[in-house]
Amino acid sequence: MTSLQLARRNAWRKPYRTLLLMFCVAVAILIYGLTQSFLAGSQGTGGASDNLLGVFNKAGRSQSLPMSYLGRIAADSDVAAVSYMARMRGFAGTQSNVVMTSAVDPRSMAAVNGRELGLTADLLAGLDRTRDSVLVGKALAQAQGWSVGQRIGVTAFQMTGTNGSRDWSFEIAGIFEGADASTDTYFMIARYDYINAARAQGKDMVDGFVVRPRDGVSPGVLASRIDALFANSAAPTRTQSEKQFLEAFIRQFADIGLIINLVVGAAFTTIMMIVINTMAFAVRERTFEIGVLKTLGFSRGRIMALVLGETLFISVIGGLAGLAGAKCATMLAGPALGLSLTPLVAGKTAIVIIALGLLGGLLPAVNAMRMPIINAFRSR
């Protein structure tokens, strides 16, 4: 037997109570794991880059910019690569099945953020084969049930073709997976030259430019310089990092981060109070036995460690169950909901589990530690 086994034995003396406590901790960790996965996933900003800059119209993202800006941005010596895009918002099948299409120049886009998107040479070659080829993100392909070689139809909400129709037809040339699980792959990439030639309005205009600064260059400084270039033009720009953009975009609806922190905080406070109260009760029940252990020579520190070990045991078992639940949820619903339980999230959750166990047991442990033996013996 070890001290840890002794703590475990103590925990299982009331199995029903211990299981309920573990369930409470599991629910708390499940909530925490899912919310953190959301923030780390493509629906949050965790996977967004601070190093990629987006140049958009200062008047709003629905306003376009002239293609002529490309040369002026590329001329800046601190720009490593620049690309451009036109976005087509539409739906496949029913109107609620929204599909985003970015029309890009494949080569320059690969230079800017091809690594992040997982654009291989084979995929780019596939996009080159026909003008209406598209590359579909893995999450989108899974959600729609699309496969390589399939011809798909997308109805644009606004962009009409030269034939007056809003229906666009594409052939899937490949599926890109993103560099990691947190990369947003719920969209598809089409060729700008095809879209630009086939659309009736907005020719030679783009919705934005994507810039990769050279290594060692401050993105913030470069962003200010790019905006200064076009400050007095007809279409002034606002340049932001991808992360800043996503944060600002999400904040248009609500401060998601604050809401999540409040929900998780409330859940944790409740769980913590339950754990502290239950452990305090469990320790009070064992007052006499703690006195016996002290007469055997168990020091105050060991008694404290014993109680903390017990809460830690409950917290770790419950927490791992919650973490496993969160992992299952992200695997089952991850692509559609943009959840990503990254190693960083798992690590943070592990720290929270340990902190919950230690903090939850602290008060009862201190009480047990300070209890005089003589008082403990009077409790029977």
């Binding site: 037997m1 070890t2 001290s3 002794l6 034995r9 103590n10 299982w12 003396r13 006499f288 036995e289 016996v292 252990l293 002290k294 007469t295 055997l296 020579g297 168990f298 020091s299 105050r300 520190g301 060991r302 033996i373 003589i374 013996f377």
Partner: protein, 256 residues
């Protein structure tokens, strides 16, 4: 002072004062208690309820502290030691046998006995060997996996004794060790304590209400109103194995 006879005192209590407050009222338990006990002695302390027997045991175990005076055991002055030092001292020098055994119900026999060994730098195997040895000594070999709830009072007390001696302490404090047992079990336990005293040279201080139990000790001290009022020293021939108490009772009944 109640002293030792021709032996260097292992336990020395000198000029101890101890009282308790109950609201505004202060009740004195000991006003000037002194006692010497030699190493290897087996002392029974008798006395009516409230005479201070338990308080004496509490002070000898470092659970309670005298208001003034000296409590020395071996080289350790308990009245000067802090809680951590006393805990370490108890772990290495003291075994306690309780009236109601005080075993942990969720642990089996071997685990209960192993508890004090968790405080020592021993490997799992060394601990298991020691546990097996003492369980064999108290006649519980083969009952390692049995839980307290399935054992008789006498068996539980044997486990309690095994737990008290597993660290090989010099001093055993017994708080009415037979108070909850039938005659046969009580006799077995007392025989065991006497064996530990004689064969392993354990110093034993036993508090009891039972004169027959006290008869197993080398010395009996009577405590009354916080003072030792009389002392009875047994000669070696008095310490020969006694007839079993049930047998003695039967003989007594037969004589009547």
């Amino acid at each position: 002072m109640t002293g030792t006879i021709g032996k260097e005192p292992y336990i020395e209590i000198r000029g101890v004062r101890k009282g308790f407050s109950f609201g505004a009222e202060k009740v004195a338990i000991f006003s000037d208690l002194s006692l010497n006990i030699a190493r290897g002695d087996f002392v029974a302390v008798m006395g009516p309820s409230g005479s201070g027997k338990s308080t004496l045991l509490n002070m000898l175990s470092g659970i309670d502290r005298p208001d003034s005076g000296k409590v020395r055991i071996g080289d350790s002055h308990l009245e000067q030691m802090g809680e951590s030092a006393k805990a370490a001292w108890r772990a290495h020098n003291l075994g306690i046998v309780f009236q109601f055994y005080n075993l942990l119900p969720m642990l089996n026999t071997a685990q209960n006995v192993e508890l004090p060994l968790l405080l020592k730098p021993l490997s799992r195997r060394q601990r298991a060997e020691r546990v097996d040895t003492v369980l064999d000594l108290v006649g519980l070999d083969g009952r390692q996996k049995q839980y307290p709830a399935s054992m008789s009072g006498g068996q539980q007390q044997r486990v309690g004794i095994a737990r008290a001696i597993v660290t090989d302490p010099g001093l055993l404090l017994c708080d009415e060790p037979t108070g909850d047992l039938d005659c046969k079990s009580a006799n077995d336990i007392l025989e065991m304590l006497r064996l530990l005293n004689r064969e392993l040279n354990k110093t034993i201080v036993m508090v009891t209400h039972d004169p027959e139990a006290a008869g197993f000790a080398r010395r009996t001290l009577h405590l009354n109103k916080g003072e030792f009022t009389e002392q009875f020293q047994r000669e070696p021939e008095d310490l020969a194995p006694q007839p079993h108490r049930d047998e003695a009772m039967e003989q007594g009944v037969a004589r009547q």
